[in-house]
Structure formats: structure tokens, C-alpha cells
């Protein structure tokens, strides 16, 4: 950090704002994860970190390395594409698993499945 006394001021301000914004959004998301009352409310909160937090910090990293090394650093886009593609898939799988467990235990806080059973029954009739 000491070798960067000649880092341009505008770039330092933009990198700082992107870092602070991304970290703050990630912190708010994890705070919601710790404080919300039910699982289906909780599963929404950390996506704040995986969407805006990741975008902010990766944009800060890209800008920092582009300005300081005088070359275009775009390999952060790899992480961005990967996280933004896989997060909805994993959280959808996790929500389906939690819904399956709640329905199998019949503990009353989730509705019974209507559409899924109808589809399965019609499939059985076709056979």
C-alpha cells in the first residue's frame, strides 16, 4: 500500500466507494441472515452479498489493477460470471430441499404441494 502514493486520486476515491458499498451490502445481507425469523425469509438475505456485494468488490478490484498496473485486468469477470450463474441454482436446490423436508414432516408452516401432485398423477394416468 505504501508504494502507491502516486495512485490517482479519482481512482482511489472510486475504488474506495466501490469497496465500502460492496462490503456494506454483504454485511447487511449476512445481518439479515442472522436476524430473520423463518428459513424462507432467511434465504433471500445473503443474495445481497452475492449480487451487489460481489459486483462492487470485483469492480473495485478491476479498476485498481487496471489503473495501478497500467493494463486491463478483466479476469475478475470470471468470478462474477460464475457466482451470478451458480448462486440462483444452488439456492433454488436448497429451497426445494427445505420445502421437501418441511412437507415430509407436515409441521404445518408450509402449504401442501398442489401442482406437483397433479402433474405426477396425470403422468401415472398416461402410463
Amino acid at each position: 500500500m505504501n508504494q502507491l502514493a502516486d495512485f490517482p486520486l479519482w481512482a482511489a476515491i472510486v475504488v474506495s466507494l466501490l469497496c465500502l458499498g460492496g462490503a456494506l451490502l454483504t454485511f447487511i445481507g449476512c445481518l439479515g441472515l442472522a436476524r430473520f425469523s423463518s428459513f424462507y425469509a432467511r434465504i433471500h438475505a445473503p443474495t445481497l452479498g452475492t449480487s451487489f456485494g460481489t459486483v462492487g468488490l470485483l469492480a473495485a478490484s478491476m479498476l485498481y489493477f487496471t489503473v495501478s498496473a497500467q493494463r486491463v485486468a478483466v479476469h475478475e469477470v470470471l468470478i462474477l460470471i460464475f457466482v451470478s450463474v451458480t448462486t440462483p441454482v444452488t439456492l433454488m436446490l436448497l429451497a426445494r430441499a427445505a420445502l421437501y423436508r418441511d412437507r415430509a414432516e407436515r409441521n404445518g408452516n408450509v402449504p401442501d404441494s398442489a401442482g406437483q401432485d397433479v402433474v405426477v398423477e396425470s403422468g401415472d394416468n398416461l402410463q
Partner: protein, 93 residues
């Protein structure tokens, strides 16, 4: 001037991410069911990956970027495997 701005903003961001990891680990300890713990582990992975990117900006090397890429890959695969285990009782059928 710009060095001090970068130093303090990255330090504050790292403190915020450490608090985020602390909140996720509290949910991982307290979470009433297994799916809460898996969700907290996923959030913990994401916060750790962002923390590694901040370490990369702080030190000015791109080695931390590779580590963050691997953490992003393995965190996703781990969450998928644990969700599959909750759904089916086995990971590989």
C-alpha cells in the same frame, strides 16, 4: 493522500466483511435446522471470497485472486452437494 484513502477504506471494508462472517457463523451455530446451517455456510463462503479479493487489492498481487476463484468454485459445489444430501439422503446415487 490516495494511499491513505485506499488504506482506510479497505480496512473498514475488511472489518465489515469480518462482521458479516461473524453473523453468518452465529447463524451456523444457532440455526435451528440443517438447511439454515447450509445457507449460513454458503454466505460464509461468499464473504470469505470477497475478503480474499480485498486482501488482493491491499497487497497488490494477483495471487489472492486465484484463491478467491477456487473458493467460489468449491463453495458452490459444496452447497449443491449438501442440498442434494438433504433432498435425497445421498450425495451420489
Amino acid at each position: 493522500m490516495s494511499g491513505e484513502i485506499l488504506f482506510w477504506s479497505i480496512t473498514i471494508s475488511q472489518v465489515l466483511l469480518a462482521l458479516a462472517m461473524l453473523a453468518a457463523s452465529l447463524r451456523m451455530i444457532a440455526g435451528p435446522r440443517a438447511q439454515d446451517r447450509i445457507l449460513a455456510l454458503d454466505a460464509f463462503y461468499v464473504a470469505a471470497m470477497l475478503m480474499l479479493i480485498l486482501f488482493g487489492i491491499r497487497t497488490g498481487t494477483s495471487t489472492y485472486f486465484e484463491v478467491a476463484l477456487i473458493v467460489a468454485l468449491l463453495g458452490c459445489v459444496g452447497t449443491v452437494a449438501l442440498a442434494k444430501f438433504l433432498m435425497r439422503g445421498e450425495v451420489i446415487e
